[in-house]
């Protein structure tokens, strides 16, 4: 689960990381009140789960209340890389002396958390690595030992801060940076994050260290340990994804017009690829998992068809332990009671596939075609989506030897 900046910052604040006074606002009037409470000047920042909002004009510095009202109205009307803006963060503005970069993420290849620090924030890390390798720290954190002091010292050394520099409260800036690094590790570890990024982490003109942005991703699999975040994750899900998730389905909406469901993530991905290769386009990714439960199939159909974009439906099942005839009976149970207005193509292979095809053929469901194999199923679904609505059942071609 990706967190919006303001939610990440509330975790930051709870973990003792330095953030500026800020308030969330969902209208120009709220933003104005927030700015007055915080004190001008302020930054008005679009709250979206995507990068590049600064370049898109989603962050505006405002010196007066009128500017805050105008900027908020503009930003709330924006669409940033396909993301609508429903709220802004109004944050105290600060004079920046230096921009740094600090992040901890899960390094899959090495199976450990990786801490990355750059003495130059706001630029491409790979470019810093080439141009000024001494300004970059990339260090793996042992999951069992945690972050070690020498690693914190490495970061502070790479920052190249003036030893005399101190913040308004007298804390040496170097010490403040070390505190940020330790606190970010604690937050990453304790909140089951897979990404905690501060870009930029700034040194203010007054010598303080401040997290100007936050990018936090929490591991969905660990939400059972974080009840508050779990509730938020559910609320944040798109309606269809939430319904699918509740039923134990994996669902992702796509842009095309062929509804796809199958048993197994790899199998469904593969089916989507084959549809594209045949000139079609999938409307979704939907994995119903193992077993043959009719209620899961029913929910999957509802979720897929409720968007109204599917012009054909492809059900792709490979029976491993699951028997295809049981899946077929589940499909009959659902499709026998529920009229589906688009052509349905079913592909059954593997365990008890022949029996399963017989079950479907015997049920004589209008608009349902049993394909002889994966290739034919894809071809029929693509043709079905391209045909005018109400064209009826699809004509299965002669079986090819390999698909039989």
């Amino acid at each position: 689960m990706d967190l919006l900046e303001h939610r990440g910052k509330s975790l930051f604040a709870g973990a003792g990381l330095p953030v500026l006074p800020s308030r969330l606002a969902c209208s120009p009037a709220e933003a104005q009140a927030a700015a007055v409470a915080i004190g001008l000047p302020v930054a008005v920042k679009a709250q979206v789960k995507t990068g590049g909002r600064g370049k898109a004009g989603g962050i505006r510095l405002c010196a007066t209340a009128d500017e805050v009202v105008a900027a908020t109205a503009d930003i709330l009307a924006m669409n940033i890389r396909g993301h609508g803006v429903t709220c802004v963060l109004v944050e105290q503005a600060v004079a920046i002396a230096r921009e740094l970069y600090l992040a901890i993420s899960c390094a899959r290849t090495h199976r450990v958390p990786l801490l990355v620090f750059s003495a130059e924030g706001g630029v491409d890390i790979e470019e810093v690595a080439r141009r000024k390798p001494g300004a970059l720290v990339r260090t793996a954190v042992d999951p069992l030992l945690g972050l070690c002091d020498y690693q914190v010292r490495d970061v502070v050394a790479a920052a190249g801060l003036d030893g005399e520099l101190a913040g308004p409260d007298g804390t040496p800036t170097k010490q403040a940076l070390a505190g940020v690094v330790r606190a970010l590790w604690r937050l990453y570890h304790e909140s089951d994050a897979t990404l905690c990024e501060i870009n930029p982490l700034v040194v203010t003109a007054a010598g303080a260290v401040v997290c100007l942005d936050s990018k936090v991703t929490i591991d969905d699999n660990a939400l059972f340990r974080h009840a508050d975040l779990k509730a938020e994750a559910h609320a944040a899900k798109e309606d269809r994804e939430a319904r699918a998730h509740e039923a134990g389905l994996s669902f992702v909406a796509l842009e095309g017009d062929i509804g796809v469901l199958g048993n197994g993530a790899g199998l469904v991905m593969s089916t989507i690829d084959q549809i594209a290769a045949a000139g079609g386009s999938a409307a979704d990714f939907c994995d119903i998992g193992g077993g043959a439960r009719a209620d899961k199939v029913a929910t999957a159909l509802d979720v897929i068809l409720s968007a109204g974009t599917a012009r054909a439906l492809l059900v792709s099942i490979f029976g491993g332990i699951t028997r295809c005839d049981e899946v077929a009976r589940g499909l009959v149970q659902v499709l026998g009671h529920r009229r589906v207005d688009v052509p349905v193509v079913v592909r059954l292979d593997g365990n008890a596939a022949a029996e399963g095809r017989t079950v479907l053929a015997d049920a004589q469901i209008l608009g349902l075609t049993v394909a002889a194999g994966a290739t034919e199923a894809v071809r029929l679904a693509v043709a079905g989506a391209a045909a005018p609505a109400g064209a009826g059942a699809l004509q299965a071609g002669p079986k090819t030897p390999r698909e039989d």
Partner: protein
Amino acid sequence: MAILVDECSRVLVQGITGREGAFHAARMRAAGTNLVAGVSPGKGGQTVEGAPVFDAVAPAVAATGADVAVLFVPARFARDALIEAADAGIRLVVCVTEGIPVRDMAEVTAHLSRRGALLVGPNGPGLITPGRCSAGIMPADVFTLGSVGLVSRSGTLTYEVVHELTQAGIGQSTVVGMGGDPIHGVGFLECLELFEADAETEAVVLIGEIGGQGEERAAAYVRDHVSKPVVAYIAGFGAPPGKRMGHAGAIVEGSSGTAAEKKAALEAAGIPVAPTPADVVPLLQAQLERRRSP
């Protein structure tokens, strides 16, 4: 020979008195597995599928000499069960469980490597050496003993490809489902190394998907270290960035981990990539023929 498991493997099932554990223990035994023990805390003293049940892994290992553990344990208890198995001296731990937190797996893999224990999974079907040992949930009927090694990130796609291989008369030496999580145990590299050294394996099939750099690293490893023919299949060309496609590890992050990138890396290393799962068979046959008639 084969790799990782064979008829000499002494298999223990953690969670054997649960519904899944009991069901799959029976299937494993039917597939030729030497099932020697079960473990379920508080259920010691029973017998399931002819195997004595113990309260903990260590006494089970002491009494039966078990060296492979297969776990059927809910996600929130998996970390503890994996560590218990490794601490009891188990050589190979197979974890089927889906949904284990990343932090837990980072800790577990670090601990297991210190113990010298190997892990297969999590969030995968385990592994099988057909007719000799099944450690996990693979449908044994699909498999047939032979000389092609297979390692995969996806369960159902594995069955599909193996089904095609078996139909075409191509048997398998060992089939490993490494699982769909971002942090997992044995992967492409480890399996390629083992298959290359295995006298019973003649060629290797890799089944990959979007996310991570495993396929790219495998490509480089094959180029430098593998003399046997390798063919691949990759799923997820149509996956949008930033979305997890069913598996926790199947995600295109930014522009990294795409199927196109993986296909390019594999082909650059001389590994043919099949356009569909069924096309693995002719590609493999062509490679094997070339090798047999130089």
